[in-house]
């Protein structure tokens, strides 16, 4: 992160429109060519409280949030109090003139004068920010036009007028030392958060069925699918509970749909019986678990990475599965696609572990190349010998020909009880062994298809920061800081946490001078898993479970 990076924190009460300001500004910055990482911190309430929308922007790459604040946009007096200690030496505050700056350097904005109605104060805030950042106003006015076009020209004009007035006012204050250096020219970028990217990756893999029961921060995956359902013909149903959501997805999958289910830990706990059912029925299903702090309802709107053990062990009995853990918004897209593909290919439950931080974190990403995605196999709609069709025919790979019922004269029988190759309930214990062996043989295929962890930097004699999921960005920045101090540092990131590919990472661990696992939980769940599976022991462990995402500073302080 260059010195050109700026961290803008917009804080205020829920319901004051800080997300609107944050999203507008983020999108304008991305369109102008800047890189961003957004962190949304909010309380579990609809109005009041104290929330922040933090945008870290840079003309070069940016990978993680930071605590230090360069521009503090306070929509409430409380914001100034809470965050003033984090203001950097060059930091500025922007607050309502009616409230005052509490002695901080910055701009006291006469919102009441600039905005004829409180409704437009968002636009006034954007005008001030645009001026301070020296952002070409066209990026914001263009967005205003897009956003309000459907509400009529008058609404567009009223919003634009407030924006322009605030811009002019701020320019006259000569307080523009927060100016961002112009970004390098680069191609078009998209702006989306992790959950949107997961939805798009799933849809690109042919997801056509979503069943869900709302639970933060899992819901926005399905929300994104619903937003596009009318155009794509995706079937989306809000189930009566999570148990029904997953079982419904399995029914749909059996009948030929390609389902995506999304929830958080508490909801996933209810789905667990369905995970076992998917294992037994050998029915593909992709389940997104957006982690938040537990146990139980925990901190509903904060972040954590403590459900790895749950997802890894969810379900009674033994059956193969795969667990992906994207570290970036790009990976959210690509690993969602890969998860759906894996579920279809191996007829197994497949998981995508994300968390509140990544779920809500807007980033700039290069447009996804849909044509480059590998095709996802479809189930059979016909078989040569309908009378002889066996849903669970015993095969070397453990994967049996999966026929969709109703489209040809064969019948498709599946059963949660142990069953014969033709799907019928059995208590023949020799058949039990055969079928259990058949199912477990899929584990070898899943392992062969598993993604090895990514190595960033040179691990030789280095401090190696290992991590999984959304911790990647902070670990990368921490390693970069170490290198700038003249120390050797590298990062090992697990984008897939099960099955493991020991050959791909044991040599990397061996080459490092010091290995440190960085995880968003208290006990080091991945570190324990690696130790159990491979005997590898880490020299150090950095954990975080206070509900906030990792930052480079947090990691560096604990190394």
């Amino acid at each position: 992160m260059g010195a050109s990076a700026i961290n803008i924190v917009i804080g205020g009460e829920a319901g004051q429109g800080l997300v609107t300001v944050g999203e507008f500004l983020s999108r304008a910055l991305v369109r102008a060519g800047y890189a961003i990482v957004v962190t949304q911190d909010y309380q579990s309430r609809i109005r009041g409280g104290h929330n922040t929308f933090a945008i870290r922007a840079d003309s070069g790459p940016v990978t993680a949030p930071t605590e230090a604040i360069d521009l503090l946009v306070a929509l409430s007096a409380e914001t100034l109090d809470i965050h003033k200690a984090s203001l950097t030496a060059r930091g500025l505050a922007v607050a309502d003139a009616a409230v005052g700056l509490g002695g901080l350097p910055g701009l006291a904005v006469p919102y009441k004068e600039l905005s004829p109605r409180p409704l437009y104060e968002n636009m006034a805030a954007l005008g001030v920010l645009g001026a301070l950042l020296c952002l070409d106003p066209a990026w914001i006015t263009g967005l205003v036009r897009e956003k309000f076009a459907s509400k009529g020209e008058a609404v567009v004009a009223a919003n634009t007028a407030v924006f322009q007035a605030a811009l002019a006012w701020a320019a006259a204050q000569q307080a523009s030392f927060a100016c961002l250096p112009p970004p390098p020219r680069r191609g078009k970028r998209l702006m989306l958060h992790g959950n949107e990217a997961i939805a798009l990756g799933g849809l690109a893999a042919g997801v056509d069925f979503c069943s869900f029961y709302p639970m933060t921060p899992g819901t926005s995956v399905i929300q994104a699918c619903i937003d596009h359902a009318d155009r794509l013909g995706t079937v989306c149903e809000q189930a009566e509970d999570e148990i029904a959501a997953l079982i419904m997805a399995l029914g749909a999958s059996y009948a030929g749909a390609r389902p995506l289910v999304s929830t958080s830990g508490g909801g996933f706990a209810l789905m667990v019986e369905g995970v076992s059912l998917a294992g037994m029925l050998e029915t593909p299903v992709t389940i997104v678990v957006a982690q938040r702090p537990g146990p139980a309802t925990g901190l509903p709107t904060r972040t954590e990475q403590a459900d790895l053990d749950l997802v890894l062990h969810a379900g009674h009995g033994e059956f193969p599965r795969a667990v992906f853990a994207p570290g970036t918004v790009e990976q959210c897209f690509h690993l969602a696609h890969k998860a759906v593909d894996t579920a279809e290919r191996f007829q197994s439950p497949v998981f995508l572990l994300t968390d509140q931080f990544l779920a809500d974190s807007y980033r700039d990403v290069a447009p996804f190349d849909l044509d480059a995605l590998p095709p996802v196999p479809r189930p059979l709609t016909d078989v040569a010998d309908p009378g002889g069709y066996e849903r669970y025919a015993v095969t070397d790979s453990g994967v049996s020909p999966r026929l969709v019922p109703g489209l040809c004269p064969a019948t498709v029988v599946c059963d949660s009880d142990e069953h014969t190759p033709d799907g019928h309930i059995t208590e023949d214990l020799a058949v039990r062994r055969t079928m259990q062996d058949k199912r477990m043989r899929k584990a070898a295929g899943l392992a062969a298809a598993a993604l090895p962890p990514d190595v960033h930097g040179d691990p030789d004699g280095a401090t190696l920061l290992a991590c999984w999921g959304s911790t990647l960005g902070a670990a990368l920045e921490a390693a970069e800081c170490l290198r700038q101090r003249g120390e050797k540092a590298a990062v090992l990131h697990f984008g897939q946490v099960w099955p493991l590919v020991p050959d791909a990472f044991l040599p990397v661990l061996a080459r490092a001078a010091r290995t440190v696992m960085v995880e968003g939980n208290g006990v080091g769940q991945l570190a324990r898993l690696l130790r159990r599976e491979t005997g590898a022991v880490f020299d150090g462990l950095v954990t975080r479970y206070d509900g906030l995402p990792f930052t480079a500073a947090y990691i560096l302080e604990r190394l």
Partner: protein
């Protein structure tokens, strides 16, 4: 032409004399009358003795988990509206473990026919009280008598304005087959609660007990009159009505696929536009 033999013959795990046999016969008779070939029909079932029924009929079968026949059936119907979808299970499965799904299916009014083998006891787990066991009835695990009021599924379904609510009796096979046919033809959710003697664990509600009490509703019962329907749904004791208790013309749930999802290709062109829209 579909005949009974299309639906196969199987060895069952049911006790000799069990009411499940006649229910199976009625189901097959109904499928033949409906002219449905086996591969166009899906039975989703839960867990229990009744839930094994689809294994004893040659049809597409999704024999899932205890209490979950309805959500699975719902997913199947949403993914392929061309299938005729049944949920078949016991009273414990359908009204106990699956109680919330039962209410949701009625609210959704999804076009599924639920056949509940109501033997007023848990059969497979050997005779514990089920939601429909009358209060006070003694069982092995309720030695002082079932402590809670019995659940009345048909009255609840009528009260919720379900699509189609009928009560059948395993001892009246043709009558029951007729109810199943009517239930399938009804667009929307159909409940057919079937009084089913369990010869092993329910020594009170026997074949003879039901034979004496069950009477067929005649033309004088108007199944579209909510008051009459509720009165008949609550009639239990010396006389027990069987037949269509209630029918409504509520539109069936329509938010599913309009054609089998299995045959559909992803609209990549549209998806490309959607992805570009995130700029």
């Amino acid at each position: 032409m579909v005949t009974e033999s299309d639906y196969g013959e199987f060895e069952t795990a049911w006790c000799p004399g069990c009411g499940n046999f006649s229910i199976r016969q009625a189901v097959v008779r109904a499928l033949v009358e409906l002219g449905l070939p086996p591969h166009k029909v899906v039975f989703s079932s839960g867990i229990g003795q009744a839930a094994k029924a689809p294994h004893y009929i040659r049809v597409n079968t999704f024999n899932g988990l205890h209490g979950r026949s309805l959500p699975a059936a719902t997913g199947i119907k949403l993914a392929n509206p061309e299938l005729t979808v049944f949920a078949e299970s016991g009273d414990g499965c359908s009204y106990g473990e699956g109680g919330n799904h039962f209410l949701a299916a009625i609210r959704r009014n999804i076009d599924i026919t639920a056949i509940v083998h109501d033997n007023q006891v848990y059969g497979l787990t050997k005779g514990q009280a089920s939601p429909t066991t009358p209060k006070g009835q003694i069982t092995k695990t309720q030695p002082h008598g079932a402590p809670s009021n019995a659940f009345n599924p048909v009255a609840v379904a009528v009260a919720m304005g379900a699509g189609f609510v009928a009560r059948g009796f395993a001892g009246a096979i043709d009558h029951l087959a007729g109810l199943i046919v009517a239930g399938v033809r009804h667009p929307g959710f159909s409940l057919i609660d079937v009084l089913q003697p369990c010869v092993s664990f329910n020594k009170v509600n026997t074949f003879a007990w039901y034979k004496q009490r069950c009477y067929e509703l005649g033309d004088d019962h108007d199944p579209t009159d909510p008051r009459a329907a509720m009165e008949r749904a609550n009639e239990w004791g010396e006389r027990i009505p069987i037949g269509v208790l209630w029918r409504s013309d509520r539109p069936a749930f329509a938010a599913g696929a309009v054609a089998p999802l299995a045959g559909r290709e992803t609209a990549m062109g549209r998806l490309r536009e959607i992805v570009d829209g995130y700029a």
